[in-house]
């Protein structure tokens, strides 16, 4: 499946793009997505370890299966407040 990952803040700056597309096998998890993203956008490396994923505005766990129909976003460490 083809997945588009939205990027924000420092992630967007590092990748110089608001989104990255990656190809994943069916049944892939967010841990798999993280690995595929690291390959597709090596510049994201400084943020990769500390970032999480969200699908349709909900945080997801690394072991959760990726839902290709959802809006997926990379959530780097937040700094609001």
């Amino acid at each position: 499946m083809r997945v588009t990952v939205r990027l924000f803040a420092g992630a967007k700056a590092l990748a110089q793009a608001g989104a990255v597309e990656v190809q994943l096998p069916a049944g892939a998890t967010y841990a798999d997505l993280a690995a595929a993203l690291a390959k597709a956008s090596p510049s994201l490396q400084p943020l990769a370890a500390a970032s999480r994923f969200a699908a349709d505005t909900e945080y997801r766990q690394p072991a959760d299966a990726v839902d290709a129909a959802a809006q997926i976003a990379l959530i780097p460490p937040v700094s609001g407040g």
Binding site: A9, L47, T57, P76, G81
Partner: protein, 143 residues
């Protein structure tokens, strides 16, 4: 009440909203743009949000706080875009019959907001540099 806005925050209006006869205590927390961090001078901060998710997380925080403490009013407002020195980037108002609850709720709300709500801060330094703030990143995210 939660709100994400690109306009200046009217903290006095939040205070007024929280000041209700069922309450005996109001705690208002306001986070403002600080000029110096570790000796380095900031001219302004700018905030970016994943808006739909930030609003959902803020609404969840309000609901969780109301579940945990007997709050009369509970308001969370976060500003996006440029926030000049001394202006508010975030304001939280909590009111309750007794003060311990309003204090604990306001503290928990800002602590938790800073951990879970997808909003990011960019420092604009007096020397011209800018920098996205990502606690825990393994190196500088941007020049």
């Amino acid at each position: 009440m939660i709100q994400l806005t690109d306009q200046p925050i009217d903290a006095a209006a939040l205070l007024a909203a929280a000041q209700q006869p069922a309450a005996g205590a109001v705690v208002l927390f306001v986070g403002i743009t600080r000029e110096f961090t570790a000796g380095r001078q900031t001219t302004q901060l700018s905030y970016e949000a994943y808006a739909a998710m930030a609003e959902r997380e803020m609404a969840r925080l309000e609901a969780a706080a109301r579940e945990r403490w007997p709050l009369v009013e509970c308001c969370l407002v976060h500003r996006t875009g440029d926030v000049p020195l001394a202006e508010a980037s975030v304001a939280i108002a909590a009111s309750s019959p007794h003060r311990a609850d309003a204090f604990e709720a306001a503290r928990w709300l800002i602590d938790t907001l800073k951990q879970t709500v997808p909003i990011w801060k960019r420092e604009h330094y007096a020397d011209g540099a800018t920098e996205w703030v990502h606690p825990g990143e393994t190196q500088q995210a941007a020049p």
